[in-house]
Each structure stands twice: as structure tokens, then as C-alpha cells.
Amino acid sequence: MKRVIFGTILFAGLFLLGTMCSPPSHTEEHSHHLLDEIRQHQSPVEYEGLSYGTLDTSYLLSVHADLPEVEDFFTQKRVSEITSFPCANCHNQPLEAMKNAQKKDLKKAHWNIHMAHASENTMTCITCHAENNMNELTTLTGELIKLDESFKLCGQCHSTQYKDWQGGAHGKQINGWQTPRAVKTCVSCHNPHQPSFPSRFPARLNTNQLGE
């Protein structure tokens, strides 16, 4: 009997000692989670004196986002980068007329454009280019869109990417990390005629085993 009581006391003692000595669990230690702390910061931050932060807005276009939580941002203009703009310099008659012209009159233009976007059933040149105004683009319902605002055109089908681009999860920032944001436009990275990135060899060999 004595042995049983002794054993019980010893066990209880050891158990108590064990619980006292065990290290505190992480949930106790980190009752404040980083995300909760970050979310408490709701007032906009001013970045004064950042040498890199001054934006030259003359070559940028202000974009008003569709998403209510996203403030206005900037994106690159496009027209200044197109060498043969305005397109109407050559396209001085409607596409249909050019198509019906004599073969000898056909200019060898755009021979290098290979379409790898959607299937021909889904889109042709005039799904995006305005048939009667080659200087501009067209929505699916025939409204005109300026070439500088081509992101609105892409956003018609690629709505998820469009949303992510406005929020900042898709695309690249061009003025560093601070706000207001200035981001690349869709066609800065994607060739609209072949929008997917080609596969290629990596820029370097991945050699992490050599050093250590």
C-alpha cells in the first residue's frame, strides 16, 4: 500500500515538474500575429525626400481603377513607342478596300506578325483593331479605345489578370516600391499578337551545390 501511495506521489511530482519545465508554446509567445499588426496601419504613407520617388508624369497615363479599394495609379503611354504611328499614314482606306485592291498594289506590311493568341474562331485582327479607324482599337461592342489605354481592351477577356494588375498582383512597378504606383502596361511585357512568354534556357546555371 505504502508503495502505491509513494508511486502516486512520485508520479504526480514528476508530472508537475515536467509541466513547469516545459518551454512555453509558440501560441503564447506570439499572440500578436504579424498580419493583424500590419492591418492596423490604415492611413496612407507619405514618402518625402526619396530621391527615386519623384515621378515624371509627362510620359505616364493616370488610371482610375475599377476596384474601389485601389487608389488611382499611373501606367506607361504606348503611342510614343510605336515607330509607324499614326497607322492612318498607310491605312488611308478601309481594310475592305485594301483587301479588294489589285495584287500589285498590295504593300508587304505586317508580314512578320504571327498570331498566336486565341483561335481564329475567337479573334481576328479586327477584334482588337478598329476596322474603320486604324489609329485606334475597338471593344467587342464597337466602342473606340485609344492605343494608350489598350489595357481596357485586354481586360475584356482577361478579367482576372486585369483585376490583379489594378491591385498590383500582376505586372511590374516602374518607379520603385513607393506609392503612388506607376506600373507597366499589358503590352510592355506581352506582345499582343503572341502574348505568352516563350520557353528558353535559364540566364545562368543553378549551382547552389558548389559553394557550400
Binding site: V45, L50, H170, Q173, T179, P202
Partner: protein, 356 residues
């Protein structure tokens, strides 16, 4: 002390100097405070550790040797035909460099003095002027990073940019970033290919980059026995390369393979050295010290994106201020399904992964 540890009453880390508790790492004191108070505590800890115990001896030692050096230098220059003022000046600067303080304990004048010494030593050696910055954290900024695993294609342009920007050793091919090629349907680093070299993206695979995650509770900082690594106010975990003793405890403590060690004298071709540097960032390192990603502190504190973010051709890398509600990183945290590696460890990395 040892008995306490063996009994489990106290952890080894309790005896280490700059212990940062969860409470002191709290940044939720309202807008505008951004966790400033905790740094003072850190500084005191480091001060006690570095000054009270070691600085006195170090200081005394420094003074004695300086006296000896000046005496010996004078004797030598008096007897030698070849030595001149410039040589003496150089050796004087080298000694002062050797006995300088931990960066965190330096006053602004001392920071300027060490930068001047480093700059003129480099200029004497190479004839080039190097710009070593000491910019501190920007107010109301806590850096965070997001990585889109749907977008990364394994092109490795980020690694090239990082090596170039941060003057990493070319001879051992030191790289802060690892890109892991993982089969679709799993996130398992054991099955990942870290040495791929074929056309990318490979069918049926995705790519995941790792680097220093700048944890909010960094275990590497806890274990450093000399206070040579710490977290700055803007969340960047940095190293004082001149205080590091190369014990590699931090390398062992990091659960993410974020730290690198200089096993030999780093070699950077003179023409490729990035001369825009920061004391805590990409200035030239030496043999036997740790280094790692600093979110390109020399760039980020001037408003630029880190080199990897700028170089990424797919836009998979996003960097920003976690305390700015209008920043891209905040939108991602609120609107995408994000996750971090080994969240259960409580290290709170400031590096989130997400998918389209």
C-alpha cells in the same frame, strides 16, 4: 547556468544577448510609431553585451596597441628610407578599422569616420571611388515581399541581377536566391530540383524562389553570440560584416537556408564591382563572415525595388511597404491566397507566396 539549461528551466537562448521577445517585436502601437520603442531595448541589450563586457577590454587593448603602433611606426619611419606618410596613414587606418565598434553602437561621426576609412582604403587599393551609404530606416516603412509561384518560370534573371548588385563572390558562385523546380501537385523541397539547366518552364513543373525571408522573429538574430546581426526598424535583418566572428550559428538556426558563409576570400572582378554600396548591404565582404539577402538595402532605402524584383521578366516578384495601405503588397495580402513557409515555427517571415 548549465544546470538550469540541462534541467530545462531555461533555454540556451535566455543567456544570449539580444533576445527579442514577441512583445517587443509588436508593431501595433498605432500608425506612426511602427515599432520604434523595441529598438531601444535592442540597443540597450547590445550595448550591455558589447560595451560592459567587452568594450572596456577591447578599448584598452586598442589604446595600448595604438600607442605601440604609433611608437613603432615613428621608429620605423625614422629609420626607413622607403616608408612614407601615405603608408603610415594606411596602416593607421587599418588599425582603426580593426578596433572600431559594432555598427549599432557607433555615433553618426563614428559611422562617417569608418566610411571615410573604408572609402580611402579602397581608393588607395584600386584608384576607384566607392560610395558606402549609411542610410537608416525610412519612417513608417516595414518591407515585405510577395512571390507569385504561378508566374515564376525559372529564367534565373533574378539570380544574375542579385549577384551583380550585391558583389557576391564569383569564385564559389555565391547566390542568395535559390530557384527550386518542383513537380506540379506538391510543395516538397526534398523532391525539388535545384540544379536544373534545360529549357524552362519545364512541362508539369513550377518554380519557387527562396532567399532570406527577413522574419519578424528571426531565430538567426537570437543565436548570434556577438550581436553582429539584428533586425532594423524597417524589418530588414542585417549583418555587421566587421563584427561577425564567422561561427555560423545563424546559418544553423535559419530554418529557410537564407544565410551564406564566405569560406574563402570573396573574388569580384574589379570591373564588375558595384560601387553604390551600403555599410549593412553590398559592401565588399571578407573571408570568414556571413552574408545574405538584405532586400538590397542600398536600393530599397532610396525608394528602388531590390535588384531581383527589377530583373524579374515575369513580374513574379513584388516588393513594398507593409504599413502602406495603398501598396501592392498590402493588396496581395488582402486579396490573394497567400502562404508562407514553415508558418508553424512562429518566425513570421515577411515573404509571402501566392498563386494567380
Amino acid at each position: 547556468m548549465l544546470i538550469d539549461i540541462l534541467n530545462g528551466k531555461r533555454k540556451i537562448t535566455d543567456f544570449l544577448p539580444v533576445k527579442k521577445t514577441a512583445a517587443s517585436s509588436c508593431r501595433c502601437k498605432g500608425d506612426g510609431e511602427g515599432g520604434k520603442s523595441n529598438l531601444n531595448k535592442d540597443e540597450t541589450g547590445a550595448y550591455q553585451q558589447v560595451v560592459n563586457k567587452k568594450m572596456s577590454r577591447r578599448k584598452a587593448f586598442s589604446e595600448v596597441t595604438k600607442g605601440l603602433l604609433i611608437g613603432a611606426g615613428m621608429a620605423q619611419s625614422a629609420c626607413s628610407m622607403t616608408s612614407n606618410d601615405s603608408d603610415r596613414n594606411t596602416s593607421q587606418m587599418k588599425w582603426e578599422e580593426y578596433f572600431k565598434k559594432n555598427y549599432r553602437l557607433m555615433s553618426d561621426e563614428e559611422k562617417e569616420a569608418t566610411v571615410n576609412r573604408l572609402t580611402s582604403l579602397y581608393e588607395k587599393r584600386t584608384g576607384k571611388h566607392v560610395n558606402i551609404g549609411t542610410e537608416g530606416a525610412i519612417e513608417n516603412v516595414l518591407y515585405g515581399y510577395a512571390f507569385n509561384i504561378s508566374k515564376c518560370q525559372g529564367y534565373m534573371d533574378c539570380v544574375n541581377a542579385c549577384v551583380k548588385e550585391n558583389n557576391q563572390d564569383r569564385s564559389t558562385q555565391m547566390q542568395y536566391i535559390r530557384i527550386h523546380e518542383i513537380e506540379n501537385g506538391q510543395i516538397n523541397f526534398e523532391g525539388a530540383d535545384d540544379n536544373f539547366f534545360h529549357e524552362v518552364p519545364a512541362a508539369g513543373h513550377f518554380y519557387m524562389g527562396t532567399q532570406c525571408f527577413h522574419c519578424e522573429n528571426p531565430p538567426c538574430v537570437d543565436v548570434c553570440p556577438v550581436g553582429a546581426t539584428w533586425q532594423e526598424e524597417d524589418g530588414i535583418v542585417v549583418i555587421d560584416y566587421d563584427w561577425c566572428i564567422g561561427c555560423r550559428y545563424c546559418m544553423a538556426a535559419c530554418p529557410y537556408d537564407g544565410r551564406r558563409f564566405n569560406w574563402k576570400e570573396p573574388e569580384v572582378p574589379e570591373t564588375e564591382v558595384n560601387l553604390v554600396q551600403h555599410y549593412l548591404g553590398n559592401r565588399l565582404r571578407k573571408k570568414g563572415v556571413m552574408e545574405k539577402c538584405t532586400f538590397c538595402v542600398q536600393r530599397s532605402r532610396n525608394g528602388k525595388n531590390p535588384a531581383c524584383v527589377e530583373a524579374c521578366p515575369t513580374g513574379a516578384r513584388i516588393f513594398g511597404n507593409l504599413l502602406d495601405p495603398n501598396s501592392q503588397i498590402r493588396w496581395i495580402l488582402e486579396n490573394k491566397k497567400v502562404f508562407r513557409l514553415k508558418e508553424d515555427l512562429g518566425t513570421e517571415p515577411k515573404f509571402w507566396y501566392f498563386m494567380d
